[in-house]
């Protein structure tokens, strides 16, 4: 019964979503709600279906069955580019910037997506507000000194920060992050986690993370996936106490 339970403090919910790839069931009947203003982490061992679930939430592809609802509206099967306009932004698991464009232009292009995208006559530099906002976002994610560099030449951690900057460009109410610290050094990871906590003060954050320890401290709620199914859900304390989770996840060698 969709709609009845969708209150204003639920920003996103999935109703029995499943995803098949050929004969392989990557996700099975996941029903979950994400609270507005919270940091919710989706965790689980490798192959648990985290990325598939993330892709359903961010509109990269539609579920085979079930429904995705954003702010009470059915968004199942909506094309990807519409998500940005609705207020949903995402970062990718694999670093995903525009490598041959400058760092500044990367963010400016992301900002432009919400306003003047089909103008073929006026110079893009004449949209001064976008240039200024792009500079502000560069500051925000700590890339001011890399302004003119080609994004492809940035260090790994810097590219990830740039991605966050691009995601913020659409002033998203919901920020989806797929393993934002993947491949980062401990120092870069710490900076990124601080940034995420800071960002979450103004918007809802959902992140997918493989390293459970990393998100325990910052998450308000956790979803644990295992073999494409929702194994457990709750506060970090709940999850820590959960025997099933301990068995399938914590029993493994800690990452």
């Amino acid at each position: 019964m969709i709609g009845q339970t969708a209150t204003s403090d639920v920003i996103l919910r999935t109703e029995r979503v499943s995803k098949q790839f050929g004969k392989f069931t990557a996700l099975k009947d996941i029903t979950a709600e994400f609270r507005r203003g919270a940091i919710t982490s989706i965790i689980g061992p490798n192959g648990a279906g985290k990325s598939t679930y993330f892709n359903l939430l961010s509109g990269a592809f539609p579920p085979t069955s079930g429904q995705v609802e954003f702010e009470g509206r059915d968004v199942t099967g909506l094309p990807q580019h519409k998500f940005a306009h609705m207020g949903v932004a995402k970062s990718f698991q694999i670093t995903n910037v525009f490598p041959q464009l400058s760092t500044h232009e990367n963010i400016r292009v992301a900002l432009q997506a919400l306003s003047s995208r089909y103008n073929i006559w006026t110079p893009r530099t004449s949209y001064k507000d976008l240039v200024v906002q792009a500079d502000e976002l560069l500051h925000r994610v700590g890339l001011w000194s890399r302004r003119g560099r080609l994004a492809g030449t940035l260090a790994h951690g810097e590219q990830r920060a740039l991605e966050i900057g691009m995601a913020l460009a659409s002033h998203p109410r919901l920020l989806l992050l797929d393993e934002p610290t993947a491949g980062m050094s401990p120092e870069e990871t710490r900076v990124m986690m601080d940034l995420i906590v800071q960002l979450a003060q103004e918007r809802t954050v959902i992140l997918v993370e493989h390293k459970m320890k990393l998100v325990m401290g910052i998450s308000d709620r956790l979803l644990v996936l295992h073999h494409g199914e929702l194994l457990a859900e709750g506060t970090p304390a709940d999850i820590r106490r959960n025997e099933t989770v301990k068995r399938v996840y914590l029993g493994q060698r800690e990452h």
Binding site: S58, H81, Q100, V109, A110, Q112, N119, I120, R124, D135
Partner: protein, 331 residues
């Protein structure tokens, strides 16, 4: 904007690129390109060849917008070029339209054909896009081939006799090669201005973004399919104009203009000159046509020679002649 409160460093401390002469040249690319094109016939042995280079350069430029800047390889651009030529010719021969109106008809023909082919092909990508555009352009070829009453079929559309061109009361002798060159050059320069504005515009940024990273562009809120279609149609406008000028220049539209070899020509010229460079298509057209003209003086197998040059270019200078030159100068 609340994010601004986090700024700790002064905004003015941005590390900026020094405005080198290279940057200056880039900013004035239309001016420099135009100046070169205006001086070009003076160094050329035959003006008729210079006109050919202009027209094919414009054709390759339209193709390059799609191929070099957006990263879509079309193998059906002959249909756009040919439609421009045929419609311009038909407007003159069958409807007795003045030359300038016929050019407009040609451009609109290129646009309409691009829209039709684009809508059908744009959802495919990579090699499939190349194949679909090629197949569709072959359909267009046969359509024009069969419409003998309108197009002259196999014999081509004859009788596009524009002898005199009058602009604001000034009369120009279109038979005179040099005058003809400058009339064509005027349109090419207009096209250069238009292209430069497109590339500098927000939509130009979208084109680059889609080429650079489609998934990211989509996630940022860009409709990639729409972007491609618009770019394809814009490309059709340039190619339609090139075709219309070709019809006026040759005073006949041969059916070969629609042949897939003409599509291949655009690919070759763009690659030779340098894909994704502003002036590269003209360099590519010039090198190709000069080779064709010079080598065919002593052997009928000129294509062998051009093919060898093309292969050397693709293998050792993937950025093309102009692209490689720009890269050298920049460093």
């Amino acid at each position: 904007m609340h994010e601004a409160s986090h700024i700790s460093e002064p905004l003015a401390a941005a590390p900026r690129h020094r405005a080198s002469w290279f940057e200056l040249a880039r900013q004035h690319r239309v001016l420099l390109s135009s100046a070169f094109l205006l001086a070009f016939p003076l160094v050329m042995p035959f003006t008729a060849l210079a006109v050919n280079i202009l027209i094919y350069g414009l054709y390759a430029l339209g193709f390059n917008l799609l191929f070099g800047y957006l990263g879509l390889l079309s193998f059906g651009h002959a249909a756009l070029f040919g439609t421009g030529a045929y419609l311009c010719g038909i407007a003159i021969v069958h409807f007795g339209m003045p030359w300038y109106a016929a050019i407009v008809v040609g451009v609109l023909g290129g646009v309409a054909m691009a829209a039709a082919i684009g809508v059908l092909a744009i959802r495919t990508r990579g090699i499939y896009f190349a194949m679909v555009t090629m197949a569709l352009s072959q359909c267009v070829y046969y359509l024009f081939y069969q419409a003998i009453d309108w197009t002259g079929g196999e014999n081509g559309l004859r009788g596009i006799n524009v002898r005199e061109i009058s602009i604001f009361g000034l009369k120009f002798d279109f038979i005179d090669p040099l005058t003809r060159y400058y009339v064509v050059a005027a349109f090419v320069i207009l096209a250069l201005i238009f292209l430069s504005r497109i590339l500098a515009s927000p939509f130009g940024a979208v084109i680059e973004a889609v080429r650079e990273n489609e998934a990211r562009a989509r996630a940022s809120g860009y409709n990639v399919t729409a972007t491609r279609l618009i770019a394809f149609i814009l490309s059709g406008a340039f190619c339609g104009l090139a075709g219309a000028l070709q019809a006026l220049h040759l005073s006949i539209v041969p059916i070969e203009i629609m042949h897939y070899e003409t599509s291949g020509l655009a690919v070759m010229m763009s690659l030779l000159g340098g894909m994704g460079t502003f002036f590269g298509p003209f360099v590519g057209a010039a090198v190709f046509l000069l080779l064709e003209n010079l080598v065919s003086l002593w052997t009928v197998h000129w294509q062998l020679f051009v093919g060898a040059v093309f292969m050397v270019c693709v293998l050792f200078f993937p950025k093309g002649i102009w692209g490689t030159l720009l890269q050298r100068v920049q460093k």
